[in-house]
Amino acid sequence: MSELPIDRAVSEGRVPDRSPERVPELHEVDCPPELKEHIEALMGRYPDRHSASIPALWAVQRRYGWCTPEGIRRAAAVMRVTPAYLESVASFYDLLHTAPVGEHRIHVCTNISCWMRGGDELLDAFVAAAEGEDVFVTGFECLGACDIAPMASIDERYYGPLEEEDAAAAIEQLLAGSDVLPEKALEKRPLAGDATGASQRNRNGGAPDA
């Protein structure tokens, strides 16, 4: 009896048609010396080198814009782990990108507190403003800044509370290389209680000595 032919499902993903890749040798991957030294220094910070996997993937992402397969192989060669191991880590975490993203990244929070204050509309405004530009916009789970809701993280810095018209302005400033929404940066925001001048007491029970 002849063997029945088996149709392999056509998939966008990787087809396991070969053995898993072993740990690549350094000479096979052409790793830039600075990246190699950086990852080696990262491994030295931990009792076990595997702990450096997330920091190493951050380093790859900073260098190549996203966790490219070649970048992952280079980091794997330095760390002496398989590329599949690092890929399994990269694909678990939302901030590590396993596909190309734009030069700039905007995360708009759409979780409970931001949603109550217009986060969905803000996301729509950012998506519309980024149309055709090299800017990656995505809705994101809670970014931990409900006090400035609705807010967005633009190239890893927090801004809020934002109006819909801030979206276009932010993207324009981002592409022009100027300061993004300087008056809305979280970094410059006073403590909530200080902004209103509400009364306080310190450990001596009195008003704070300024």
Binding site: P55, W58, C142, R203
Partner: protein, 441 residues
Amino acid sequence: MPETRLLLEHAEDPALRTLAGYRDRGGYATLERAYREMEPDEVLKELEDSGLRGRGGAGFAMGKKASFLPRGEMAKYLCCNADESEPGAFKDRELMQRNPHQLIEGIAIAALAAGAGHAFIFIRGEYDLQADILDAAVAEAYEAGYLGVDIVGSHCDLELVVHRGAGAYICGEETALLDALEGKRGNPRLKPPFPAVQGLYGGPTLINNVETLSNVPLIVANGAEWFRGYGTEQSPGTKVVSVSGCVRRPGNYEVELGVPTRELIYDLAGGPLDGREVKAFYPGGSSSPVLTAAEGLDLPYSFEAMAEAGSMLGSGSIIVADDTVSIPHMALRTARFYHHESCGKCTPCREGTNWTVKMLERVVRGEATPMDLDIVASVQENIIGHCLCVLGDSMAMPVGAMVRKFRQEFEDTIAAAAGRSPAGERIAAVQGAPETLGAAT
């Protein structure tokens, strides 16, 4: 109502971020005294006597947790959980951004008490600014001899590493945090063994929240008695409370535990907008069962009062929903978050969060029947307590509470939306059928 600022004292001063600014306010004096003059057990006793409860969500006594670590010479670890990712929580961000050295001093003193030689701050990857601030502060502390080898001449060593996560709520769960720190996907582990016995790299590990550890220098400096002078018998100390949602002045407010919840929401956070009323609120982040205004506003804000009311203080994050907020939509938002963040290891959580989202989507589209609400409720019951960690429970508790307490609103939402959906119309027609049949017989 005034704020009581112990942790956030001088936080308005930008110089506090620097070593010089922190030392000007008396910083690191406690570390020097603890390392030079105190035995680890003395420090531990002070922490135990203070009754400080963990500020990360579970509210477990911090000193007791530290005392669970075995004694003796071995590799022990301390992890500071700075993976604050729960919707509604943003207090650790404030504490790290404004007073990073207070946290570092707290970590160093707690490490002394626990006998840990290696400490890590696991900070969520999104907090890039705060991680940069911590990196700079840690470098300064090493430079000044408050970290590293032979700290302030005491022959004690401590290495401290700031480790950035990469975007996964689950890593705030202590055992998932350990896996992530070991360089793996952040999946929770089976407990026991608890991390105090077998944690990071298999060694005994103390894991504490940022706010918990920030309290440590204050307690060791002023004594347990002083600390117990604040707050309530069972919830001593102050709490940085994150208030957000439908209030005029969302933000972090530090208050003594046990203050009236109403004053927190109305006085400090400014209450709801004109003409609106508080309808419900999450008292302790998105994983705490919601309380209606009638149930919750007049409770003292403490661990025990919230537990008694069937909810929890959690991380101390109040999200206020006013009367314009649709509870079914809020339940859907909540469920979507946990569905997205479920790591997929345990079936009840992976499937339960998935199906809860699908069912709630049917509710808001008007394609559900009231019977579906019973199914939603029963799914929640089947998640709670059936997984390795409490991520699934964290969805099941608030969603279950919303369906139970606002059932009429869910039914009204289904009825109102039914007319807008062809499937909903068909279901509404079938729903009408039993009555017709009843009339015929």
